[in-house]
């Protein structure tokens, strides 16, 4: 009987997930004594009755590297340590079913190693399960690119490309109508998508969570751009951006990173704040879920493929408890426990920020 790898995708969907799954299956297929199964909806597929765990062959993953989403489906709710359970009286509680999950992996699933692709929540769970004895390898998934343990994560460049395309589109309308256009993009805690798409698209203002903005300075910049015959301005604002004096602890206190949430609303908030400072015709566009979908750019497909291959090689070597990561130009591994809760924020001293300031972009401060 072949050894068996189980793959699961957890948290918000992210361009590149299917490329990871494909790489895992194709890498394992090079080994005559290994096979791959997938758990449907993160680890939930293991705990449902009957288990929803499917065999994955080369044929199943053929060509999926250019499709968004995940063929294994995902979930951002619950997990083995907080499994929604209904009681005889009809009430629901969250129960710890991790022990049962580990047992099921042995029998009936006969799983030798687990590859968990997911965000912070998934890595937390992976680490706990590893400590309980599960052979697990982690693959980080955060479209926000906000992990210190890896130079970059898949999905991020696709999101930046989509947001940049949106800036390109809005500029033509802004210029034709002499308007201010505000584009709200992802980034609750880290402003990588916002700053990058503002740079690539040529926005005048980029507001990100790391730099509280002074509304008067934002208004001043907009006024300056609207004047002198140019007549329009573009603002990119990340969903976690806040004015000076905003509740910064709020931003940092809840579960962060990994881009699971689409909060929305900061673009309209900014517009109402601006009303007192600048008289301008303006429109807001919330990019929302469009940033997560569609075919991944080549960069993300390649990185995802590298991560998938590396994860299998760690499993083959029995080197569990590790998360794959990218340290230019090497694919490496780090202990999962060292990777979680280590966030990569945009530093005000970074070269990216210096570049933005260098071309005269207003960052709100």
């Amino acid at each position: 009987m072949k050894k068996r790898l189980l793959v699961a995708t957890g948290g918000g969907d992210c361009p590149g997930l299917n490329a990871v799954i494909r790489a895992i299956v194709k890498r394992a297929d090079q080994e005559t004594d290994w096979e791959v199964v997938g758990s449907i909806e993160a680890f939930n597929g293991i705990l449902t009755d009957p288990p929803q765990v499917v065999r994955l062959t080369n044929r199943d993953v053929s060509g999926i590297q250019n499709r968004g989403g995940t063929i294994l489906k995902t979930t951002s709710k619950g997990g083995p340590f907080a499994w929604p359970t209904q009681h005889p009286d009809g009430s629901w509680t969250l129960e710890d079913r991790s022990t049962e999950m580990l047992e099921r992996l042995v029998d009936p699933l006969h799983v030798d190693g687990v590859i968990s692709i997911g965000g912070e929540g998934s890595m937390d769970i992976a680490q706990k399960l590893y400590e309980q004895g599960m052979n697990v390898i982690g693959i980080p998934k955060t479209i926000d690119n906000d992990l210190t343990s890896t130079d970059v994560t898949f999905g991020f460049h696709t999101a930046v490309e989509i947001a940049t395309d949106a800036v390109d589109k809005l500029i033509t309308t802004a210029a034709s109508h002499n308007r201010l256009m505000i584009l709200e993009v992802m980034g609750r805690h880290a402003g990588w998508i916002g700053l990058s798409s503002a740079l690539a698209g040529g926005a005048d203002v980029a507001l990100i969570p790391e730099i509280p903005y002074d509304i008067e300075k934002v208004a001043e910049k907009i006024k300056h751009r609207m004047a002198n015959g140019r007549g329009y301005a573009i603002v990119v604002i990340a969903e976690g951006a806040m004015p000076v004096g905003g509740d910064q602890t709020a931003r940092k206190s809840d579960q962060i990173g990994y881009g699971n949430a689409i909060l929305g609303g900061v673009g309209h908030r900014l517009l109402s704040e601006l009303k007192d400072h600048v008289d301008v015709e303006a429109r807001v566009v919330i990019l929302g879920h469009l940033q997560r979908g569609g075919s991944p750019v080549a960069y993300d497909r390649i990185l995802a493929t590298q991560f998938g291959v590396k994860a299998v090689e760690l499993a083959l070597a029995g080197d569990y408890g590790k998360m794959v990561a990218y340290r230019t130009p090497h694919v490496v591994s780090v202990p999962i426990k060292d990777a979680i809760n280590q966030y990569n924020y945009v530093s005000v001293d970074s070269d990216l920020v210096k570049t933005a300031r260098g071309i005269g972009m207003c960052l709100g401060d």
Copy 2:
């Protein structure tokens, strides 16, 4: 001294406007005794002091056919019959300055013919000016494709392409998360963009202004699609869609067509209406101004070029008071007065609707 054509773009921006402008300039350039000027911000450039009317040469329009927006800028406010005028006491009124505008066209502008590219408002103005003696040719501009006098208008296919791309993107997220995704697209009065993008993208439900929707039938369809292991559903809703019993006169009473407005909000309204009927995790995306921007698709560039060339040829022939139009496969002209106020709604008997029903799409009725 050369004869002079003046071009102006009015109303909301629309992919293809620059291709029209380029075609006009390049066509006129074939005639040794004609030249082209452009009025900035629709006809406003004629009435400002000094006039903002610029010479347009081949060099000015080189390569602009693949850019969104309009190099002549546009405005959807005012016009010569309702010109915002400030009085000595500081108050503002709207004044009729059409006579002065006609005089300025003669002196100092020396204009022999005017090509007005615009929506319903622009065509109304053009007709009135024609009746006052102006040599005017109209080119219809409505991204909503809602005119009976022409088979199709430029900008429409670009908007459908962008909306379809959005459906493609949302499907991957919907499928990965077992969600309902609602996409709100343009179309206050006519549902062409909504129905077309729903068909091209493979949505389950399309709600358009022409067919009031029964929320129970919509909910039923969504429940059916969520069940049976498929687990997700996609709704495309046009901004003018209404439930049965909604105020249909409201939709028809205000200035319509030509896609100038982005109302927003019907997607969220639909979601709240659904809450009582179906228990589902859902997200709304409002496509908004993204539909108007960016590079036009080839189809729109070609149609826009055909319209621009035809308009110049009508001017050369002195055949004024006409609007260009497309009757497959011919570029024709119709009297402006016969073209305005003739709206092209999606007919429930049309083949497009039959196709949608034929593949099982729910149209809300």
Copy 3:
């Protein structure tokens, strides 16, 4: 037992084929007493042993409307009237197996109606089979848009979009390097793709099969464009374009239309012809199979869906021997026998040609 529709795709692949297949399956699924099967590799699946005919359900066609190619595979070789057959002595001949094919459709396949999606060759075969008693509906497939019986065919607009994108890309290189760039596109017999992409992309010269070109006039135009500080020029040439005096009968004599062939080479031939007339640094790009692949544009997905639905409705009505077609804005049907051998060439008197000449494009004459 349910009635059974068999679908087959023949000839060169074309963007939109999968959207047709999906529409057929989804339309038939609305009828409780019908089901759909697909023959692999055109009609070949019926004649192989065992037959390669597969059941097609909604699940099989879910989401395929945005993918290029055909899930049923295709073939442009042979067919039931000329089936490659190996004899005991090892030699091969082409045998007529149409009678056997009709028998197999009855038993064991139990097929009540056949929908054949294909080009001229497929329609010829369909008509012959119809005359032998097969219940067949035709759906035209020609990326070259060269049929008179329908205003437009699916795949064409996708090809034009891809070719236009290529012109857009080549212009930036041409302008940066002061070069002549020659783009060779599809079109052995009809120049629709070439002329359309030249118009949309802003090429200086478009050479198409319908208008033999005078190399001196082409050279003159190129010289004119290279001069005066502009410094570059773009030529789009269809693979069937010929110089004045070229063997025009050759173009018309072999099997035409339907875009099955990628000849190649005319771009380089043009370049060598130009060498004697103009001194310029030049490059040739052959677009080739890139024009056939990838996701169809929205327009083609919609048209393909309309064709698929209509074909099923004709079958349900027992109205066989017909081919679906588009007459703006209606989906109609015409007898297959009236549709074949009726080619739609670019007319020199057409509005499209007039538009090209109107903006100063050189068509070689």
Copy 4:
């Protein structure tokens, strides 16, 4: 009088050049005592009579970051050390006019610093001019990403994206027709584009200059992929790929790197080599100049902007003789003399190659 920076773009065009120019102008605009001029066609604009050197303001560079090519035009011929000069007898020789160029930079051009954006040839020239006393900063431009002194260069990711899109398109045709498709991409000396696009697109075989290929192993892989019901295969081949025993010195002896040349032909050569080993219907597509054109991806726009800003800052600091480079995540500088002739080849031990082998891709060895 303001201090003056002169910018020039040399060598083959590359997506991102305009973003660099824009960044330079916008960065210099932050300094009240600096201004920017551009030399047309690399340094040639300095030496022509009269000089073609133009003032560059914010308005000139507004929005150009999303356009391919270079507004300053480029040239890959000659340069100040080998200036084509015609003599009284009509003959031409290449003359060293570097001294005159340096004099002209002082008078009449009043240039204080020069930023040279270009490939290896341009950097060689820059270094020589620096040694003669010119204040020069270099910005590397190689679409092939083949420099050791920088982690990555702009243009590369755009080329990979375009090549990947081509693989995506060809796969649908290959699968529909059971064909072998061969895609020839750039890469005379380094296989980064070939290997990356093969990985992202899911090709079966990638042949690159660094790994001489054994035609029997390539044929074996193709046969294996065609069999077992899959029926098709995709090969990506870089223009510098060679069979085992091919003349490797030829590859390394002529001017390399920087992607200036489009050789063409290796795809067809491979096909003819394959004929003896595998019986398959095949097609070749040469991507050619399509890889250089069009709008840069966001990644390249950002990197280009960072390079432009850094170059100006080096000039402001008087830190001449340096070339900007990227060392993740920092923008750094290195002496030009240390950067030239240092090529970054794909190493057979690299993680990228291991990933390719890991998923079963054939690299020809």
